[in-house]
């Protein structure tokens, strides 16, 4: 099947394929970069929030209150969650990982997800991923520099996905528009730039037909054919003449 395709069609096909690959690569690689940057930016914003909550709790500890007895701890988490729609859940855990306060009250006094505390750093915030949910942990350090527990902030990437969806749609539109213009232009362009070569192939093909009209592009080939043909015709004529003359020679 491909053997019957003209070289101009193959070139157009290749150009079309490379246009699709080029636009596709530019779009997909940009999309992946956007995704990473948006997730990073979201995490950065939420890290500031979690850090602020951690500071508030630490201020409470500085007054001599134990972590489990921080006044208004539960309300603080619920207020913060209500203020920031990106936050999916907030909890405060003690040094053993037991949940002391949580926006989901069912989790109270239960151990926090081990995934959330696996990457714990006692000197600064850390990030974790628990299934579809992302999270940020912030250590709570008392006035003596000891680790007392952590604020765990869980969030989902729904907001990022919304933005990514919008970016993706705009990129798909741009890609389709670019391809809709470039593909026909490419095919026409290839058709135009290959004209001379196609004419040459056609002339060579025509020049080899019996009784072909003179083809300037295939003059050398036609010359070679004409010369050989003339030699053969002359020889044929002479041999036929010999064959026709033979009986008379025999008679004489």
């Amino acid at each position: 099947m491909t053997g019957s395709l003209s070289f101009a069609t193959r070139l157009s096909g290749l150009l079309a394929a490379m246009l699709v690959v080029g636009c596709g690569l530019a779009a997909s690689l940009n999309y992946l970069k956007f995704e990473r940057m948006l997730l990073e930016q979201q995490a950065r914003v939420l890290e500031i929030l979690a850090g602020d909550l951690g500071d508030t709790v630490q201020n409470g500890l500085a007054l001599g209150v134990r972590l489990a007895g921080i006044p208004g701890g539960q309300a603080l988490l619920e207020r913060s969650r209500a203020a920031e729609p990106l936050v999916a859940g907030l909890s405060i855990v003690d040094a053993t990982g037991i949940v002391l306060f949580d926006t989901d009250r069912q989790n109270l006094n239960a151990p926090a997800s081990p995934v959330a505390l696996d990457g714990r750093i006692e000197t600064g915030p850390w990030r974790y991923r628990d299934g579809a949910r992302y999270g940020i942990g912030v250590p709570i350090i008392n006035g003596f520099g000891q680790y007392e527990g952590a604020v765990l902030l869980g969030y989902e990437r729904g907001a990022v996905d919304e933005r990514l969806g919008s970016v993706l749609l705009s990129m798909v539109q741009a890609t389709l528009l670019a391809l809709a213009v470039a593909l026909p232009l490419g095919a026409i362009g290839i058709h135009l730039v290959t004209r001379r070569t196609r004419r040459w192939f056609a002339a060579m093909e025509a020049a080899m037909q019996p009784g072909a009209a003179p083809e300037p592009l295939a003059a050398t080939l036609q010359g070679a054919i004409g010369e050989a043909s003339a030699d053969l015709a002359a020889a044929e004529h002479r041999l036929e003449a010999i064959a026709a003359d033979l009986p008379e020679e025999v008679r004489t």
Partner: protein, 673 residues
């Protein structure tokens, strides 16, 4: 002028134009929409920081402290600015927009919100001020607006990201353009250039009266139709000749008819024992798989040491990080003679299939390697495949090159390798930045499997020979007995590859990472080596041909390389490192062609050029094996700057040594007494 003379140029120009416009348009739209989507996130960050800052001040106002009586504001704002990286400024203005306290660098055009601005019900008033996003949080006293806390997020972070992405788009465009040029060359060669050349060769033979030839029957497109018509024409002429022979045989006037046939036979040759004129497209057909293979291999160049370092356990495993590079090059060196044997016995196609298998397994192994030891083994397997495939392509190019154009064909080999290296290094870094190191190795494996399909479909089997080969040790002794060859190897070839392996493949990615560059930026910097080397190869060959002083070009290149590596003495690392990469690319490119061109001259009367070339390659591989561990040891002992200086001194010393050896030889030649 043949009809394909301008075709390649026209088609490539058209492709470049369309691809640039299309990719440029898509990227522009993508970046614009990204900026629009990221802006609210940056504003949100400013708003949150502002609200945190405003809380404390608002609490003071709520406790009855008058706005004018707030104290320690500058210190407070400075602390707030310090706790949040990426902020341009934090300012406090009164209700009229006059700045009361400040921290950070607010731009000259900063103006507070005009008097009478209404505080928002929730959140902050956001706006773009110069190069910063400004979020203004209201402060209320007794229910009335008392002032504003302004937080500015510099656009620099967004601009850096957008700039990085523009570079990546340029890289994608460059890679797609170079790859398109390779694919176009492949298709045009098989369907246009080679068939036209074949038709012209056939035409010349027919013109000379040789009607025994046939065109190959397996060509496609227009060329296939021309070939079929040509075969019909030749057959028709042969039929006419056979008829003449029959007429002559039927005649009893044998002497006269024989004379007529002899007269025709003197001008024209016919016969059943026909010879098929080959298409001669093999050289071009080997370029594409070679380009793709090198492309696949080089996808990981910019991060191999980084991945190895991570597997070896952070900065403590610097020496371990050099191991995979060393095992790869060692495997290439060891497998090269073996690859040559396979090519000689089984032909290029079978050898390529044999080489592709370990390469694919190696890439898969590298993707799955749990530790540095298994990663090093996987890279060694890749190296074995690389050796076999590259030597098979080289032999295939030499076998298929038209008579008298072997050098040009082998020049195509270097060009394909360098184009593949540039494309692979650059796009590999972009892919690794998005997909991660392991998935990028997976992409390499997929490309290698694609090459297997291409080779299987496009390469003709066979091409092996049972000719006996000369003894390795005897050839080696004969080659190294020639002092000029030994000097070339010891003072030019090996040092050049020590620098290549030690600096470009090992040290440069690590040092660029130390500068805080992203993976994509590291790849772009490493790519500079190949980009500079490509034109330098042409320039080096031109200078050597014109001046006939290839040796001096090699010495000058060594000096240039040494000077480039010593740039950290005078320049900051962020300029010195790319500068050294560029200098290394230019220097190695300049020396590449003269080093090969000098071999036939040296080989005269000693040992064959081919054998000397293979020993030169082997010596270069040795240099590449030594380079990374040597650089790693120096790095562990004294740091990146010192390593570059030592490598630079090595290059300078060996180049000067090589120049002195040339002068010494020249002096001896002039004064034989």
């Amino acid at each position: 002028m043949t009809p394909d003379r301008r075709l390649i140029g026209s088609v490539v120009t058209l492709a470049v134009l369309l691809l640039t416009l299309a990719v440029g348009f898509v990227s522009h739209a993508a970046l614009r929409s990204f900026e629009a989507e990221l802006k609210p996130e940056l504003e949100r960050e400013a708003t949150i920081v502002g609200s945190i800052g405003a809380q404390t001040l608002q609490r003071a106002l709520d406790l009855g402290v008058p706005f004018d009586g707030l104290s320690g504001l500058d210190e407070y704002l400075t602390t707030l600015l310090a706790t949040q990286p990426g902020l341009a400024y934090v300012l406090l203005t009164d209700a009229g927009g006059r700045v009361v306290a400040r921290a950070g660098e607010a731009q000259a055009e900063f103006r507070g919100l005009p008097p009478g601005s209404a505080p928002p019900d929730r959140g902050a008033v956001t706006r773009l001020l110069g190069r910063s996003y400004d979020a203004a949080q209201p402060l209320l006293a007794n229910g009335r607006l008392a002032g504003w806390v302004h937080v500015g997020i510099a656009r620099a972070r967004l601009d850096t990201a957008l700039g990085d992405m523009r570079w990546d788009v340029l890289v994608v465009l460059l890679v797609v353009l170079l790859a398109t040029a390779e694919f176009l060359r492949f298709i045009l060669s098989r369907t246009v250039s080679a068939p036209i050349a074949m038709v012209l060769r056939l035409q010349a033979r027919l013109g000379a009266g040789d009607w025994t030839v046939r065109a190959p029957g397996d060509i496609g497109a227009e060329a296939g139709r021309v070939a079929r018509h040509l075969n019909v024409l030749v057959r028709r002429m042969n039929d006419r000749w056979e008829r003449l022979c029959w007429l002559a045989a039927e005649s009893s006037a044998a002497r006269r008819t024989t004379a007529i046939l002899a007269e025709v036979g003197g001008k024209l040759r016919f016969g059943a024992a026909t010879a098929t004129e080959g298409l001669g497209a093999g050289a071009a057909s080997a370029r594409l798989p070679l380009f793709l293979f090198v492309f696949a291999e080089q996808l990981s160049t910019s991060f191999n040491p980084l991945h190895a370092l991570a597997l070896a356990g952070g900065d403590s495993g610097v020496l371990g990080a050099a191991l995979p590079i060393a095992t790869f090059v060692a495997a290439v060196a060891l497998a090269t003679p073996w690859g040559g044997e396979i090519v000689a016995r089984r032909g290029p196609r079978a050898a390529m299939m044999w080489g592709i298998l370990p390469a694919a397994i190696g890439h898969l192994g590298a993707a799955l390697a749990p530790d540095v030891a298994s990663f090093a083994v996987a890279r060694a397997v890749c190296g074995a495949g690389y050796a076999i495939v590259t030597i098979a392509c080289q032999v295939h190019l030499a076998q298929e090159a038209p008579r008298g154009r072997v050098a040009r064909s082998l020049g195509g080999f270097t060009a394909a390798v360098m184009t593949g290296a540039v494309c692979g290094t650059a796009i590999g870094a972009v892919l690794a930045d998005r997909l991660g190191f392991r998935l990028t190795y997976g992409v390499s494996m997929l490309v290698v499997l694609g090459i297997a399909l291409l080779v299987w479909a496009q390469f003709a089997p066979g091409g092996g020979s049972a000719a006996p080969r000369a003894g390795l040790w005897r050839s080696a002794r004969a080659a190294f007995a020639e002092p000029r060859f030994a000097v070339l190897v010891v003072l030019a070839a090996i040092p050049a590859k020590v620098l290549l392996g030690g600096f470009i493949f090992f040290l440069a990615p690590l040092e660029l990472r130390e500068l805080g560059l992203s993976q994509a930026a590291i790849g772009r910097n490493v790519m500079l080596y190949g980009l500079c080397m490509l034109p330098a190869i042409v320039v080096g060959a031109w200078i050597a041909d014109r001046s006939g002083r290839g040796g001096l070009v090699i010495a000058a290149a060594g000096v240039l390389n040494g000077a480039g590596l010593m740039l950290p003495l005078w320049l900051a690392p962020d300029i010195a490192l790319p500068g050294a990469i560029i200098a290394t690319g230019v220097a190695q490119g300049l020396a590449a062609a003269p080093m090969l061109a000098i071999i036939p001259d040296i080989a005269r009367g000693a040992v064959g050029s081919a054998a000397m070339l293979s020993f030169l390659r082997l010596a270069e591989r040795f240099g590449s094996v030594v380079g990374p561990p040597a650089a790693a040891s120096l790095l562990a002992l004294g740091g990146g700057r010192q390593t570059m200086l030592v490598l630079g001194i090595l290059s300078l010393a060996t180049a000067i040594g090589y120049a002195l050896a040339l002068l010494f030889r020249s002096a001896r030649r002039e004064d034989p007494a």
